[in-house]
Symmetry: C2
Subunit: 239 residues, 2 copies
């Protein structure tokens, strides 16, 4: 008979931040298809004989095209397998979960979507930065591209979370200032989430590009802009 596909948010990388449902689905999975940012520690919940397929992009190699991932999920499920598609964070926060759902639905494969703890919020928390905080933030915007940069609320009490390349950090910060944001707005680069290289680099929109460059920050990293950054341990006023 036909198997199933579960599109599972694996959370930000900490073993404890997996959901109970994710652990349950991993325990019965025949196949686990991993993203680059999917938490490897979650595999401890899987069977010893589980098949693990890593389709994550790694620097210097070509990522597996999305169409091929879709085809893989469908083929294994049609073969009768219980497939867990394990993603970092949440499957719908830039996780292309909707496309995989469509592919499965089109092929008649039963799909379950399991939301996860999103890195866009939890990685900030791990760095001591609340995404909202009374008096410091009354809302937040999460972006992965540059198209909407100029049109987000420019109040310093609106938190901006940028899930985009560090290579453009200096340009991005300059663009926000050019669009009217105060250059003294606090900013932080959070590397490696809950991983062993986790590190917080602090500055302002005027300085963060230079400071991050000098510190040698590396992907994966999340950039946060807004007054909530002042809650990070180590914040000592505009640098």
């Amino acid at each position: 008979g036909v198997g199933e596909v579960a599109l599972v948010g694996g959370g930000p990388g900490d073993a404890g931040l997996l959901t109970l449902r994710a652990a349950e689905l991993l325990a019965r999975a025949d196949v686990v298809v991993l993203d680059r940012l999917a938490p490897r520690a979650a595999l401890e919940h899987a069977r010893d004989d589980v098949e693990v397929i890593d389709v994550g992009k790694t620097a210097g190699t070509h990522p597996v095209p999305q169409e091929d991932i879709n085809a893989l999920l469908v083929a294994r499920a049609l073969d009768g397998a219980r497939v867990v598609r394990l993603k970092g964070g949440d499957p719908y926060v830039f996780g292309r979960g909707g496309e995989e759902l469509d592919a499965c639905a089109a092929a008649g494969v039963p799909v379950e979507v399991v939301p996860g703890v999103t890195s866009a919020i939890a990685v900030l928390a791990a760095a001591g930065i609340p995404v909202t905080h009374r008096g410091l933030s009354r809302g937040f915007t999460v972006l992965t591209g540059h198209d909407d940069l100029g049109t987000v609320p420019d109040a310093p009490d609106h938190t901006l979370v940028l899930l985009m390349g560090l290579g453009r950090l200096r340009t991005t910060a300059a663009e926000l200032v050019a669009r009217g944001r105060d250059p003294h707005t606090p900013a932080a680069v959070l590397e490696d989430g809950y991983g062993p290289r986790a590190r917080t680099t602090l500055g302002t929109l005027a300085t963060i590009g230079e400071i991050a460059n000098a510190a040698g920050v590396r992907a994966p990293a999340i950039t946060v802009v807004g007054d909530v950054v002042t809650r990070a341990p180590g914040w000592a006023g505009p640098a």
Copy 2:
């Protein structure tokens, strides 16, 4: 000796969307302090003799003031108790977790913050609406108040998630249109998250106020605005 306080995100209400760490902390808790939207099902992980204190606001009664909640957490922990402060969704997404953290830290009480699956993303997923989706959404903004309404990206492919009162729904929709958003922008009201009264009401910015009113929508509810709403089952073009 001094106990501890854990500020725990309980997720959007589904028993399976609790994190492993939350379940672990609940299992050893002496006291659980519940928010109105905290998932009651999570208490199954707690000891039989756990003390449960409900400080949630219920319609028609006065909520427990935040200062009193802070004082309660501190007092119980100083008394030696292991306290879990269980919240709906994530403790930092309008959960006032930062204020409770400050109160504990000021009193010398050890605090742990445990991120949760935020309702702002997961309740959409439960209704078949991905918060981001290739071609339909390249980012999202989450607001609880009205101050920033006029300054969010007004592209229909930027998802707007509003965690605010249904009483102002018509005004809010009109305000977004007045600020330049297309009145045909898809909009949805999602009632009761993962609860038994879960229901999706669909419309556009021009019609959602009237449609929701006629449908008798009730709190708790989340409003979503943007092209991703067209992914909801039952969407049949602008109403």
